[in-house]
């Protein structure tokens, strides 16, 4: 019982804020008499969500699919690059400027290139989602690995530990909190990537659905698309937070492990 009370106290404020925002939105639209072409009320959006659900569902599935595939490839590439760059000073100095330059290109700008190569559809969305989430993962993993205490490295070296031993036993576990912090950023970014690509060049996905809905002035449906994206983003963020808790609980000991 005590624990439930604690959770309510912890989550109460944020829940109240979320509800408050929607209530304010609803009342503001009603009282100012704003047309639903400009800004639909939350109740209208939910209504659209229910009404068009059979049509929204395949688009949701498509966006989730492209995002997750792109994200997974991005995580693998990002993790490998991060390990490489973090464990070698030479690789760090050589590759970092290129990486920074690469990451400062607005990802929207590369979508036409992907379309040129692969045609409109699923592949550009996957590639955009992938490319957008590589950089934060590389930077974080590299930082985690490069900041291993020199004393600890000395201890490992006097044990004649190989580079692989050090990486596996010390550097990688140490980089895990950095990695998960990056994952939470990357998953939300991956949605940005896939939706942008769908908006520009696809005939499926939430982004595409929102484009079509807005061109036919079905504004509640546009907002319904936003709600779906927000829902997916939050769900995946929460999922990774939970995995993070399990894998790197040692790095968050102040909040919950201390009582264990």
């Amino acid at each position: 019982m005590e624990r439930i009370g604690e959770i309510i106290r912890e989550k109460g404020a944020s829940t109240a804020l979320i509800i408050g925002v929607f209530v304010f939105w609803e009342l503001f639209c009603l009282m100012a008499g704003i047309s639903d072409i400009l800004l639909p009320r939350p109740t209208q959006i939910v209504q659209a969500l229910v009404q068009y659900w059979p049509a929204i569902w395949p688009h949701t599935w498509q966006t989730l699919y492209t995002t997750l595939v792109g994200f997974s490839i991005g995580v693998v590439i990002g993790l490998l690059l991060g390990i490489l760059i973090g464990s070698s000073k030479l690789a760090y100095d050589t590759a970092y400027p290129l990486l920074v330059g690469f990451s400062s290109i607005p990802k929207v700008a590369v979508v036409p290139i992907f379309v040129l190569w692969y045609g409109a559809g699923t592949v550009p969305a996957i590639l955009t989602a992938m490319i957008i989430c590589i950089f934060p993962i590389v930077v974080n993993v590299a930082t985690g690995i490069a900041t291993v205490e020199p004393e600890l490295e000395d201890v490992m070296k006097t044990l004649k530990a190989s580079k692989w031993d050090i990486l596996w036993n010390v550097s990688l576990p140490r980089a895990m909190p950095y990695f998960f912090a990056a994952l939470k950023v990357a998953i939300t970014l991956a949605f940005v990537g896939s939706v942008v690509a769908e908006t520009v060049a696809s005939n499926r996905g939430i982004g595409n659905m929102m484009m079509i809905a807005s061109s036919s002035f079905n504004v509640p449906l546009v907002f319904a698309g936003l709600f779906v994206l927000a829902g997916l983003g939050v769900a995946l963020y929460v999922l990774f937070s939970l995995i993070e808790r399990r894998v790197t609980g040692w790095a968050h000991r102040k909040t919950d492990l201390a009582s264990a």
Binding site: E149, E151, L152, D154, V155, M156, K157, T158, L159, K160, A161, D165, N169, V170, P173, R174, M176, T248, W250, A251, R253, L257
Partner: protein, 289 residues
């Protein structure tokens, strides 16, 4: 298990073979005009099973000597031999402990202490099958010996500084090293915890009879623990003085107040004060050979 290790070592009555030998070994960082000699050509011999402390002003190259023995640094000139062979060619087992305990926060104390067994041959071969049985008992026995019995399941952050440092010592000793390198391991502890750990360190050394090199700022610590104390000059470091500590073992804290002990401390202290004042500020460029 520990007794068996002690038995195969030669008795203290016979002169012990040389275990570490520095032959005019020096270290210079950088090149040309920017070159800084951290350690002047130094010769030093440490016998097998001997406990030697290196004391001296900050930046005098004490830790440099330790790193050369631990094969973390190669001498710029001269040679360093460990167990009769030049470093790098010698398959000896080394344990090392710094002032910073550097325990891995994601492992409990038992797994932290077990880490060397996962890496150092011949232990690593059987690691998977023995970690829950033989190695676990081995770790528990060592933890018991330093007063950490029953703390194997705790995580490093649940321990005090002194307890973490005990675990750090255990990690440096679990793989039965031939050589233990200690770089100010008790420097960050309060006076009483430090004295407690001196006693534990002495017990460990007496039971295992391994060769120990200790770098410390604390003269009392050096005199309490070591067989011999080497006093070093300011940079570029040289060994100014090499004195045996003629105090019977096991030593106790009470003995540190006796006249012999105090006199030794005062003599060492005067030497280090001289070393700081004398050449502490001017750094000499290396002479062309």
């Amino acid at each position: 298990m520990n007794a068996a290790v002690a038995d195969i070592r030669p008795g203290t009555a016979t002169p012990l073979p040389t275990f570490i030998e520095f032959e005019e070994a020096s270290i210079t960082y950088g090149r040309g005009a920017k070159a800084v000699q951290a350690l002047a050509p130094t010769s030093l011999k440490v016998a097998e099973g001997e406990f030697v402390a290196l004391v001296g002003p900050s930046g005098c190259g004490k830790s440099t000597i330790l790193k050369m023995v631990g094969e973390l640094l190669a001498p710029s000139t001269g040679h360093v031999f460990v167990a009769g062979r030049e470093i790098g060619a010698t398959p000896i087992r080394i344990g090392m402990a710094y002032q910073n305990p550097t325990l891995l926060p994601w492992l409990n104390i038992r797994d932290n202490v077990m880490l060397p067994l996962k890496i150092v041959p011949p232990f690593r071969q059987g690691y998977r099958s023995k970690r829950k049985t033989e190695y676990r008992d081995r770790v528990e026995a060592l933890l018991d010996q330093v007063g950490l019995g029953g703390f194997g399941d705790k995580y490093p952050w649940q321990l005090s500084g002194g307890m973490m440092q005990r675990a750090n010592l255990c990690r440096a000793l679990i793989h039965d090293p031939d050589l233990l390198l200690l770089d100010e391991p008790f420097g960050a502890l309060d006076q009483f915890t430090r004295e407690e750990l001196w006693a534990i360190m002495q017990d460990l050394w007496l039971s295992k009879k391994l060769t120990v090199l200790l770098v410390t700022h604390d003269l009392k610590e050096a005199a309490y623990l070591a067989d011999r104390i080497c006093v070093m000059s300011a940079r570029p470091g040289r060994i100014l003085d090499d004195s045996p500590v003629a105090i019977a073992r096991p030593r106790t804290i009470d003995m540190t107040f006796e006249p012999d002990f105090v006199a030794l401390n005062q003599r060492l202290r005067a030497m280090i004060v001289g070393a700081r004042g004398g050449t502490g500020i001017v750094s000499h460029p290396p002479k062309p050979v």
